[in-house]
């Protein structure tokens, strides 16, 4: 049961969680389900039962499925494009982690909290 051809499909390695053998599959999303199809293999999993990987510059993309299986790919750029086309957007935290501006702001905020804690703690210590 292969989906309509206009759904972007991504080649990945599927591990069923019972053996270490990689099964080459194609994955796509349709009607709220993640579908994967390979040689003698067909599965569909609700999107909310998939643990999606976060976008990072380095590292493999591993998606963990609720049945113990997992999908692996080293082509992070292809995964990110595919995820974007299917509307799998990054969370706010992931966006913050990938942005130097947000990270700099987080650093400044942390340093401010440390400075404030030191000043107020010092003042409390003297007054106490």
């Amino acid at each position: 049961m292969i989906g309509p051809p206009n759904r972007p499909r991504l080649p990945m390695d599927y591990f069923d969680g019972r053996s270490a053998r990689a099964h080459p599959v194609l994955i796509w999303i349709e009607q709220g389900m993640l579908k994967l199809a390979g040689q003698g293999l067909w599965r569909q999993i609700p999107l909310h039962q998939v643990q999606w990987p976060e976008r990072t510059r380095h590292g493999a993309r591993l998606a963990h499925l609720s049945n113990g299986g997992s999908l692996h790919t080293h082509d992070s750029a292809a995964w990110d494009d595919w995820a974007r086309q299917h509307g799998l957007n990054d969370s706010l935290i992931t966006q913050a982690q990938q942005s130097w501006r947000w990270s700099l702001m987080a650093t400044l905020l942390l340093l401010s909290i440390c400075a404030a804690s030191y000043l107020w703690g010092h003042a409390l210590g003297f007054s106490g």
């Binding site: 053996s19 982690q97 947000w102």
Partner: protein, 412 residues
């Protein structure tokens, strides 16, 4: 909508004999050895951004966000660790980790509150926590490994309460005997032999403790490595107490040489200083200069202890991992002392200069150096590895244990 499964996939060819559900696994035939160097692809600049954002969220939530930050960190390091071009996977769920982390934190806070309220109550609570610590430690190892996978198969850590407490029981008993011996022996020797007796008693206790330390290290390492399992393959640990004792002896030798060199260097600088400044108005110039040089000498002595620490770290990793494995999978660690020393010194210097902000870069660089020193030797094709029935059960175990350990230690 429930997931529909239509799996026409057949088990890997020739491996049906290895699929074991209710009886002991069959062992696969050995093949020629394939060697895979572990690779780490993480980046310091990327981890800095992940670390700083998660640290801020943890601080803003007074620590409540910590399990999510920890899960994100573990996932990053696992997905960047490649063995034979396949990355490790981390499956831990932050919500489950959070329950145990909060429980562990609550236990610690309760102990602290009891200690503040009543010293005896605090001591009892502390001893109780100490008594439970081996169980938490083992449960943490089991949970951490059960949530880590390679090529879709999860690792496991075998062992029950007996295995958790045995590595600590013997060292604890020996320590108790040594302390009792010292307590009984010391007054008797003082009475009969005077100060010489005290020195003798102290030396005997010291020698006993010196012999105990390698034993503790060996027992703890053995416990950690013997329990490892992947697919249907358990692990052996071949290092002996003699190997651990030799490591400690060598490290002591390095510490002595390092301290001697530091003192000699300090002495040389001191003498050069005296020679360069012969005119001084102080009545005892040498004594005054020695007093001024003392902090520098102590500092040098402290710095010199970095060398044996790094030496121990490099050789302890090589000893532990090179003696871990089984008939089909073995490890070989070749972590060099000099590269580790150079990296450690660089990391500490830059962390001091940047007030700790260099830490993510240091962590990534150290992880890369330590992981890429390890080579995995496999006599079995990974395609033939299958899960053992009990591994499936352990993989479904709650993450409570990891998180209690997290709460007690702050990190696994």
């Amino acid at each position: 909508m429930s997931a529909s499964v239509s799996s026409g996939a057949s088990p890997p060819s020739g491996s049906s004999a290895f699929i074991s559900h209710n009886h002991a696994p069959h062992h696969p035939p050995a093949q020629s050895v394939q060697r895979f160097r572990v690779r780490f692809t993480g980046s310091g600049s990327e981890y800095l951004r992940i670390w700083i954002v998660n640290l801020l969220l943890t601080v803003l939530t007074a620590g409540l966000y910590h399990p999510w930050a920890r899960a994100r960190q573990l996932r990053y390091f696992c997905s960047n660790t490649l063995v034979a071009s396949h990355a490790l996977g981390f499956h831990g769920e932050p919500r489950k980790m959070a329950r145990g982390w909060w429980l562990g934190t609550a236990l610690l806070l309760t102990c602290a509150a009891l200690a503040w309220w009543s010293r005896p109550a605090g001591m009892v609570a502390g001893l109780l926590l100490l008594a439970l610590w081996p169980a938490f430690h083992q449960a943490g190892l089991q949970s951490r490994l059960a949530h880590t996978s390679w090529r879709g198969l999860r690792f496991a850590f075998a062992g029950g309460p007996k295995e958790a407490y045995l590595p600590w029981a013997a060292p604890f008993l020996i320590l108790a005997c040594l302390l009792m011996l010292g307590r009984v022996l010391l007054p008797a020797l003082l009475e009969s032999a005077g100060p010489l007796g005290a020195v003798l008693s102290g030396s005997l206790t010291g020698l006993g403790l010196a012999a105990l330390l390698p034993y503790v290290h060996w027992q703890v390492t053995r416990h950690r490595h013997l329990g490892l399992a992947y697919a249907q393959l358990p692990t052996e640990f071949r290092a002996t107490y003699r190997d651990a004792a030799r490591l400690f002896l060598n490290t002591t030798g390095v510490a002595v040489v390092s301290a001697a060199l530091a003192m000699a260097f300090g002495g040389l600088v001191f003498m050069l200083g005296l020679w360069a400044r012969p005119d001084t108005i102080h009545p005892t110039p040498h004594l005054e200069s020695a007093r001024q040089a003392l902090p520098v000498w102590l500092g040098l002595l402290g710095l010199a202890q970095v060398v044996p620490l790094v030496y121990f770290r490099a050789h302890a990793q090589n000893l532990a991992w090179t003696h871990t494995g089984n008939r089909w999978i073995r490890f070989k660690s070749e972590l060099g002392f000099m590269p580790l020393l150079k990296l450690s010194l660089k990391n500490w210097a830059l962390m001091a200069l940047t007030l700790g902000l260099y830490w993510p870069f240091a962590r990534v660089a150290m992880t890369r150096l330590r992981l890429q020193a390890v080579c995995v030797h496999m006599r079995i094709s990974p395609d033939l590895l299958v899960i053992q029935a009990q591994n499936a059960h352990q993989a479904g175990a709650s993450a409570m244990a990891t998180s209690v350990r997290l709460g007690l230690r702050g990190s696994t």
